[in-house]
């Protein structure tokens, strides 16, 4: 297939599946909490609804930074799609993209001048401590397999079996990392409802729709990376089932746990990181 067509199709698939998974997650959360909940396509409908709404840009915003930051979020996740499903490139790059996502969260918040955005920005800086499990995951995967290439990792797993069984604690850390990006999750301190919508508060209308599109792609990509890195060569139906299962598990956790306060959220993640790092190295040494 033509490379550009391939990229476009993958981006569109990522957007639709990511949005549907977000919708599913809300549905499951609602059922657990005894509500009927919105239809599964609600997240897509919301995205499009916001996208065509009349928008204004705040008087106080830092232009054109305020708009460019949303384009940046979209750009990095398009890059993730290229690195992941299209070319099977460097895993390190995916984690670089994850780091830039943090920066976007931080600066989307502060670029508007709103106090809610500012609080979210400060929380994003705090949650940079949650980067420790990220690097630990990378280090452990590399020490186990000797490669940082996604294609290389798939090949390794065809020979040696899924990494999920070999380095379960790294998988756990990665799972916590994915969970911190889910809406309503106990670790989603940058989007907590106590600060309205966190860094997205002042990005309304069109820009909110745009951010939501990128977030759907991000969600799809995070699950894709998890399934590829820890389960290895799997077929498309297994990918779909895996994504649905993971979204459901995360929905269950989100529905039953409150949002942690920033300090607790960070300490929880650091604790997971500590257990994961020490345990994984112990497992590698044996």
């Amino acid at each position: 297939m033509n490379l550009m067509t391939n990229i476009l199709i993958n981006v569109i698939i990522a957007f639709f599946i990511g949005s549907l998974l977000f919708g599913l997650q809300r549905k499951i959360m609602a059922r657990i909490q005894g509500r009927p909940g919105p239809p599964i396509i609600q997240h897509i409908l919301h995205t499009f609804k916001f996208f065509i709404k009349e928008s204004a840009f705040p008087y106080t915003a830092a232009m054109p930074f305020y708009i460019a930051i949303t384009a940046m979020l979209s750009m990095i996740w398009v890059a993730a799609v290229i690195v992941g499903p299209v070319t099977g490139g460097s895993l390190l790059l995916i984690f670089g993209i994850y780091a830039v996502h943090k920066i976007v969260e931080h600066n989307a918040g502060s670029s508007s001048g709103s106090p809610y955005g500012k609080l979210s920005c400060v929380r994003a800086v705090y949650s940079a401590a949650a980067e420790i499990p990220l690097f630990a995951v990378l280090v452990i995967i590399y020490f186990k397999t000797g490669t940082m290439n996604i294609t290389g990792l798939i090949n390794y797993q065809t020979v040696h079996g899924p990494l999920l069984y070999a380095i379960p604690l790294a998988a756990l850390m990665f799972f916590v990392l994915i969970m911190s990006k889910a809406p309503y999750s106990p670790f989603a301190i940058t989007k907590g409802k106590d600060i309205v919508s966190g860094y997205e508060t002042e990005h309304f209308g069109l820009l909110r729709g745009y951010l939501m599109m990128s977030e759907s792609i991000a969600w799809y990509m995070l699950l894709w990376v998890f399934l590829t890195v820890f389960l290895g060569p799997i077929s498309i139906p297994v990918y779909l089932i895996g994504m649905i299962v993971m979204s459901s598990i995360i929905a269950f956790i989100n529905a039953t746990t409150p949002l942690l306060n920033p300090n607790h959220s960070i300490m929880m993640q650091v604790t997971f990181a500590f257990i994961g790092i020490v345990g994984s190295f112990a497992l590698l040494m044996i």
Binding site: I52, S74, G209
Partner: protein
């Protein structure tokens, strides 16, 4: 037509043209990567800026008269 509208039309056409160019002429892979990284986000953003709803003139007046109520 205001500045934002003009810019977004130009960006929309440019990004759409570059994507179509990459699909039809199939250039070297790194050019395709560069085009997709820059053009896909810009295309979506400018499409949104072009298609977003506009308030009518008298509504605009009303909005301006609304006092700033702070955050």
């Amino acid at each position: 037509m205001d500045k934002l509208k003009t810019t977004s039309w130009i960006l929309l056409i440019a990004s759409f043209a570059s994507i179509v160019y990459a699909i039809i002429f199939n250039p070297v892979s790194w050019i395709v990567y560069a085009i997709s990284l820059v053009s896909i986000p810009l295309f979506i953003l400018s499409l949104g800026l072009v298609t977003m709803a506009k308030g009518s003139k008298d509504e605009e007046e009303e909005k301006r008269r609304e006092p700033f109520i702070g955050y």
